[in-house]
């Protein structure tokens, strides 16, 4: 039996009320108004960091040594040369003898990556494949895309042992249907006329794929417990359900008014949402739309109950929200507004990539050492034990801090340091089980921070060196999600 062994999701903490977007930019295109709010990645998040967060949610309690492949799907990868999946595998602290791949260029890349993972497991070339997907597509200021697009991520572990949802079949259609596009080096999404997308693509391909799937599997659509497909147009979302003969309760809420359309991640986020509510025996179909469509069927097993409590998934992330409160802030975070950074923001120290390579486990994977003689965990990697009563040399074993919680020993909110979201908050973390180091904090306001606050580690962009095109990643402390 092969299928989903574990699942996870991530929704960035910040949400913006679409009224704020409309208030700022609605004068330009009055027809863009949409209700509700959408999820906005913080300035230090991108498709990779969000997918890492979803991946960590998915890997909760699972030995990372078991992962044989990491696939990443996104249309907004930070790098076009330097494999983004490999950045993620380093962040997860995976083994080196694994396979990694990026799936990109279309919003159905997420479901395609899942199908490739299923194929690899079925073929026996991998026991466990991580599929992580994250997207943060950018619309121009005042565009409909700016209202519709939300940021988010999902991750699935595909394997053949402890399957919570068995792969039940798939049906794909592939067309060079140019609805949205972005050329090399372009930042902003472009699209052809909405009526064309809606009538010629959206309402056809999802139906075609799903009908192909049910036919192939010899079942009626009424036999599906839930169906997850993206919502590009609210009215036509319902129309698709009607064409397929699906009731409202069968359609997974696309969260258009809470998260927005999260691109490549969208169908898998909704699949995770469906799994959270599923019972053994449920049949869930998920459809990825873009350049055609992939429809994939899963049948939930008895194992589902075991994973549920430990996953943050969609539901807990939806609850952990805070208002960004300003369109201008969102625009600045996305570099839509050139902002005055001052000399500290304009000066970016160079990145020694050879240093990064040598220290990749400690930088990307937040791995330090633990002394075999006295047991003291320490970060970063030390050769001489830091315990003053020990001090032995070269008696260290690797020790990963990224999945350890800690207490905030002390902190400050710094207005002198440059931060895209001032003040720059940083402090010391004392880790459960030992070890102390200083880290930036993120996703928190200074007023909420206090000594001894419980924190956990989150993989983030530390800096972007625009001149060299280098995105520097590291770990920051965030309040533990309640």
């Amino acid at each position: 039996m092969s299928g989903i062994v574990s699942y996870g999701a991530y929704i960035p903490k910040y949400r913006i009320d679409r009224k704020l977007i409309y208030k700022a930019m609605g004068w330009l295109n009055p027809a863009t108004f949409m209700p509700g709010e959408k999820a906005v990645a913080n300035y230090d998040e991108d498709s990779v960091t969000m997918a890492v967060a979803a991946g960590i949610d998915c890997l909760n309690g699972i030995d990372r040594e078991k992962v044989d492949a990491v696939f990443f799907a996104s249309t907004t990868p930070p790098y076009v040369e330097r494999q983004n999946a490999e950045i993620m595998a380093s962040a997860f602290d995976c083994r080196a003898d694994i396979r990694t791949a990026d799936f990109t260029d279309t919003l159905k890349a997420g479901t395609t990556a899942v199908l490739s993972a299923v194929d690899a497991v079925k073929a026996g070339s991998a026991k466990n494949v991580m599929v992580c997907t994250g997207d943060m597509r950018l619309g121009k200021a005042g565009s409909a895309q700016e209202e519709i697009f939300g940021d988010g991520a999902a991750a699935l572990l595909i394997g053949d042992n402890g399957v919570v949802a068995e792969f039940g079949g798939s049906f794909s259609v592939s067309y060079d249907f140019v609805d949205h596009w972005r050329g090399t080096g372009e930042r902003f999404d472009q699209q052809w006329e909405d009526r064309f997308i809606r009538d010629e693509g959206y309402t056809r391909f999802i139906v075609e794929a799903l009908q192909g799937l049910t036919k192939k599997c010899g079942m009626e659509s009424s036999a599906l417990s839930s169906v997850a497909y993206p919502c590009l147009y609210a009215g036509d979302f319902k129309k698709i359900a009607g064409t397929l003969g699906l009731s409202e309760s069968q359609c997974v809420d696309p969260l258009a008014g809470q998260v927005g359309y999260t691109g490549t991640a969208d169908p898998l986020m909704h699949l995770v949402g469906a799994l959270e509510a599923a019972k053994p025996g449920d049949r869930i179909a998920v459809v990825g739309f873009g350049a055609g469509a992939d429809a994939v069927l899963f049948e939930v097993t008895e194992e589902i109950e075991k994973t549920r409590a430990d996953r943050r998934g969609i539901r807990k992330h939806l609850a952990a929200r805070r208002e960004l409160g300003s369109y201008e802030k969102m625009a600045a975070f996305r570099n839509l507004l050139p902002t005055e950074k001052g000399i500290r923001g304009d000066t970016v120290a160079f990145t020694a990539l050879s240093t990064l390579w040598r220290n990749r486990k400690e930088v990307m994977g937040l791995c330090g050492s633990r002394c075999k003689a006295c047991g003291t965990p320490q970060y970063p990697v030390q050769r001489v034990c830091v315990n003053p009563d020990c001090g032995v040399i070269d008696e260290m074993v690797p020790y990963r801090f990224s999945d350890r919680k800690g207490a905030l020993f002390t902190y400050t909110g710094d207005n002198l340091a440059f931060s895209p979201n001032p003040p720059a908050i940083y402090g010391f973390v004392d880790f459960e089980g030992g070890g102390r180091y200083w880290f930036d904090l993120t996703d928190v306001d200074l007023e909420e921070v206090e000594v001894d606050m419980a924190v956990e580690m989150s993989f983030r962009k530390k800096y972007v060196d625009e001149k060299s095109g280098i995105h520097g990643y590291f770990w920051k402390a965030v309040p533990v999600m309640v």
Partner: protein, 408 residues
């Protein structure tokens, strides 16, 4: 008998009373848009050599301190030798964060104490106002390629603010109460600095105004932070037994110690974050060498590294002057005021005299020297016997401390 049996250990003699300071110079500190590092070097040197009454050719070796000065004068010790046209003598550049000035002096003093030379020059200078920064330049450029990847987005005020956060938490001080104590520390220094013609910031500031200042790094506001300045300071040191040949009132070095972090503060969890571990270790060694048993009674005056008000507050405790957690009481009692038991920062300190990094340690010593000689003007302390300077480089969690004790 082995060497390791205690009674057999031959203790090092140390440097107590082996070296004397016979001349000092210090520029006006401040935003010296008119002066480059070379001008500042010459200004300090000229005063020092005239004060010592020696000729340049009598200097046998020199130590040059500069930290961020690479942006102005470049690396190595040649900026000093070229500027002063030192005639092919040994010149060494030292850099040890913000304790660089004390390190230049320590190099010169230890060289004389070793017997290698009779007369040496120590000169520190810093031209920070050519960096373009308000505050110190960005650390991410200078902390090393690995640290650049993992250090937080830290600045000097933020690094020290975390000391205040922890201090307030441990001793149960609410932000208002804690900040008020810190404000009193700064207000005292402003009062002293206003009386110092060479100081960068010469204005008395009330506690109320200090408390209302803009926040720099929570909980430190603008007036909790020292000035960032241009300046230079210099000392001529010689063998103690020769000192009276040059002047009747030389100042004798009792001890010059430094202590550096071992990594425990940053990476191990037994440091409570409310004090500076190196300062405690360093002070103990300095007191031992200088023969000081009860610092609260024996020390006459101090220049402490008050880069931030909180640094000065915890240093009162680290030096064994105030009991742990009780420095605030001494502050409220005026113990460290110019007319208190141990006047602290009589020249205004880093807070008001300013902080050109390479010069600061020497500037502290300049004030001790002038006080001993009775030349401190309105700031004159009556009959000082023992003076202490405390110079710090780095952050509370990763630093070096220099504690220096001098007397008549």
């Amino acid at each position: 008998m082995t060497f390791h049996e205690e009674e057999d250990i031959i203790m090092a003699e140390g440097i107590k009373d082996k070296v004397a300071i016979i001349g000092m110079g210090c520029t006006r500190f401040g935003e010296r848009w008119d002066a480059g590092a070379e001008d500042l070097i010459v200004e300090a040197f000229k005063e020092a050599i005239e004060d010592a009454g020696i000729e340049k050719k009598e200097i046998q070796a020199a130590w040059f301190g500069s930290c961020f000065d690479e942006v102005n004068v470049g690396k190595a010790a040649t900026p000093l030798s070229l500027t002063l046209k030192l005639p092919f003598i040994p010149v060494t550049r030292v850099e040890n964060f913000c304790a660089t000035g004390s390190e230049a002096l320590r190099g010169a003093v230890y060289a004389v104490a070793s017997g290698a030379y009779d007369i040496c020059l120590a000169l520190g200078s810093e031209k920070l106002k050519d960096t373009g920064y308000g505050g110190l330049p960005d650390f991410s450029q200078v902390l090393g390629t690995r640290n650049r990847l993992i250090f937080p987005n830290i600045t000097a005020p933020g690094g020290f603010a975390m000391l205040a956060t922890r201090y307030f938490a441990k001793y149960g001080l609410g932000p208002e109460e804690g900040k008020e104590i810190l404000a009193m520390v700064s207000a005292k220094s402003h009062k002293n600095g206003a009386r110092n013609p060479k100081a960068h910031l010469r204005k008395e500031i009330s506690v109320e105004k200090i408390l209302k200042a803009p926040m720099i790094a929570w909980p430190l506001g603008l007036f909790d932070c020292c000035g960032v300045s241009d300046g230079a300071a210099a000392a001529i040191v010689c063998r103690a037994d020769l000192a009276k040949n040059f002047r009747s009132d030389p100042v004798h070095v009792k001890s010059m110690q430094i202590a550096l972090s071992s990594g425990e503060e940053l990476m191990y969890t037994d440091w409570d974050g409310t004090y500076v571990k190196t300062a405690v270790k360093c002070a103990a060694r300095a007191y031992d060498e200088a023969g000081i048993k009860n610092p609260r009674e024996e020390i006459s005056m101090m220049e402490l590294h008050d880069c931030f008000s909180i640094t000065e507050l915890v240093t009162y405790e680290d030096l064994g002057i105030s009991p742990r957690g009780k420095a605030g009481n001494d502050v409220r009692d005026g113990f460290f005021n110019l007319d208190g038991k141990i006047p602290c920062q009589p020249d205004g300190g880093l807070k008001c005299f300013g902080h050109p990094i390479g010069a600061s340690g020497l500037r502290m010593m300049y004030e001790m020297y002038k006080q001993f000689q009775g030349k401190a003007g309105d700031r004159q302390i009556k009959d000082p016997r023992i003076g202490l300077t405390h110079n710090m480089g780095g952050f509370p969690a990763m630093n070096l401390i220099s504690v220096n004790i001098v007397g008549r």
